[in-house]
Amino acid sequence: MNVLIIEDDKALARELGLYLHNERFHCDFARTGREASEKLFVNEYDFVLLDLGLPDQDGLQLLAEARKERNQQASIIILSARGTVDDRIKGLDLGADDYLAKPYSLLELVSRMQAIVRRKHGVTQDTLGFGPFVLNVSDRTLRYHGEQEVTLTKKEFDLLHYLLLHRHKVLTRLQLSEHIWGSMISDSDDRDSNFIDVHVKNIRKKLAPYDSGDWIETVRGVGYRIKTAQEA
């Protein structure tokens, strides 16, 4: 997948490129609006990651231009540190596919990109399984052997879903809390990543009556990971 990273800060672009490279994306870079316009005109991208605060042009203007470009079918995700209130609304109105406020977790960005891909190609997976459990995304249920329903709270469901989407990775508490509380404006300490432990503890408690396997593995000091069937 081809990604154009439009970001004027070199260090930030580098970190972003590095992570995406590891996720098997092919990255191209533009540091100014002009450079970006040229690349958008010449190349075809699957994704455009757009920083709104460019030195020579307003990012929203570039977005509007990119959307007019006939050959350009790229999904556009706005990454902004400006944080003005209407940027998100304006951006989505102008045809951006998603919006992330800086700082964001790179895992969250990749998750959003994958979600867009799944949506575009109509391969949304309704169910995700682990061992005897099946998580149904469309009716938001967790079932044991396809029958008994395990009642989860909204947060517990979201957390389990996120772990399952990245089932081969260790997810840090921070990445998890970013996903669960990310877009919410609230009291600062309510984003506290410590609360992730409470959620995980509760999920484990709820799974225990059905299955003795410890499906959510605690990776010491770092975070959590869903075990594969063989490991459990």
């Binding site: 970190e15 700082p103 977790s105 840090t172 919410m184 404006i185 009291d187």
Partner: protein, 422 residues
């Protein structure tokens, strides 16, 4: 002016009535003299013991006597004198004149009773009263109309000022008036509004710059930590340190975001396009916090009368407001405590919402400082960063919601007064 007129009027009317009587007396004197010239004095002459000649209604008399020149060289005199009428002494206004007819001196008196003078006076007085009342009323109405017309630019200015919503109202065309003072006032107000607008604009720019300049390096660090954690075969110790650093960074981010949020609210950067059903909003907030309630075994009960609503409102901000209040009510509660949300409409159209928790009381001296930024309780029982209630305050102010904390042994209550929806 009207007062002076009112005070002077009775006196003026009296004078006028008297003058009027005197003029008539002189006129009659003139006629009598003419008749004497024509027909002689005989028929008019009154002898010494004869009674006076009264007219039919007995309020006028004529008295002509021979000789008796009281004022030898004198002209006519007018005075108020008593005269006998039907055995009673009555005051008359008397004109006395002396003249010579066929070599004989005569004295002629013509009198008019003061009663009739009073009658004229009374008539004039009531007429004057009516006239005056009419004049005052007309003037008043006229003045009201004229003043209203003259002050119309003033009303317009007030009207415009009242229509100002928020710190950056759209510029208005200059007021169309010929009055220099009003134009001056209008210009001054417009200049003031411009100044306020530019200050807000500068602050908005400043917030955006701070936001960009601080969040970009934080972004770099956060992404770098994330990349480093991806590395294979990272020593466990380094891993732990990275996670700890990430946590510190997250705290910095959270604080910065909250501060920027408060600044943006105070800078009026949020719109209020929503009509918010408070019951529905509370349901969402409680759903968001249900894990914490369960975790601490806290019971939350709601008793809301009617259907409280807020409009115009910003839903996202109101969510943060109630989220922070309920979240605090959980955080500062005892395990297995209770939270009660009560609401009732007030007679004045507002709606009162009371959020009560059974936590430890807040000392009275700390209550006034509860909403200040970075204010923590001295006993250190807060693990937060002291910004949650500062957000609460800015959101309530933004929506014109009143908020009052109270605390005693039974717990802590925040009383919100929601303005009636528009």
């Amino acid at each position: 002016m009207a007062g002076v007129l009112l005070l002077a009027l009775p006196w003026a009317i009296k004078l006028f009535a008297l003058r009027h009587t005197e003029a008539r007396l002189r006129n009659e004197l003139h006629q009598v003299r003419q008749r004497i010239e024509r027909v002689g004095v005989g028929s008019f002459l009154t002898t010494q013991d004869q009674r006076l000649h009264y007219d039919l209604l007995q309020d006028e008399f004529i008295d002509l006597r021979r000789g008796r020149r009281l004022h030898p060289g004198g002209a006519d005199t007018i005075a108020t004198l008593p005269r006998l009428r039907q055995g009673q002494l009555v005051d008359f206004r008397v004109l006395r004149a002396s003249f010579v007819h066929e070599g004989q001196p005569y004295t002629l008196e013509i009198g008019k009773s003061m009663e009739s003078v009073e009658d004229v006076y009374g008539l004039l007085r009531s007429f004057a009263a009516y006239a005056l009342a009419f004049a005052v009323l007309t003037t008043l109405l006229l003045e009201l109309g004229v003043i209203n017309h003259l002050l119309r630019p003033f009303d317009l200015i007030v009207h415009r000022l009242r229509a100002v919503q928020g710190p950056t109202p759209p510029p208005q065309p200059p007021l169309s008036t010929n009055t220099w003072d009003f134009r001056y006032l209008d210009e001054s107000i417009q200049q003031m509004l411009l100044k306020i607008r530019s200050v807000f604009e500068q602050e908005r720019q400043f917030i955006a710059n701070v936001s960009h300049e601080l969040l970009t390096p934080i972004s770099i660090l956060q992404n770098r930590f994330e990349n480093m954690l991806q590395a294979e075969n990272l020593p466990e110790e380094a891993e732990t340190q990275l996670v700890t650093s990430q946590k510190t960074l997250q705290r910095l981010t959270a604080t910065l975001r909250t501060l920027l949020l408060i600044s943006r609210i105070e800078n009026a950067q949020f719109a209020r396009p929503d009509r918010v059903d408070v019951r529905e909003l509370l349901r969402e907030v409680v759903e968001e916090l249900e894990d914490r309630l369960v975790d601490r075994h806290i019971t939350l009960t709601q008793q809301l009368e009617g259907t409280p609503a807020l409009a115009p409102a910003n839903r996202t901000l109101l969510f943060a407001l109630f989220f922070n209040l309920i979240s605090n009510a959980i955080k500062y509660n005892h395990p297995e405590g209770t939270i009660t949300v009560r609401g009732a409409a007030q007679p004045d159209g507002s709606y009162q919402l009371r959020i009560h928790n059974t936590g430890r009381p807040i000392p009275a001296e700390q209550l006034p400082h509860l909403f200040e930024r970075f204010r923590r309780f001295d006993d250190g029982r807060v693990e937060g960063y002291g910004l949650g209630l500062a957000v609460v305050r800015s959101v309530t102010q933004f929506h014109g919601i009143g908020i009052e904390p109270a605390s005693d042994e039974a717990g802590t209550t925040f009383t919100l007064t929601l303005p009636p929806p528009q």
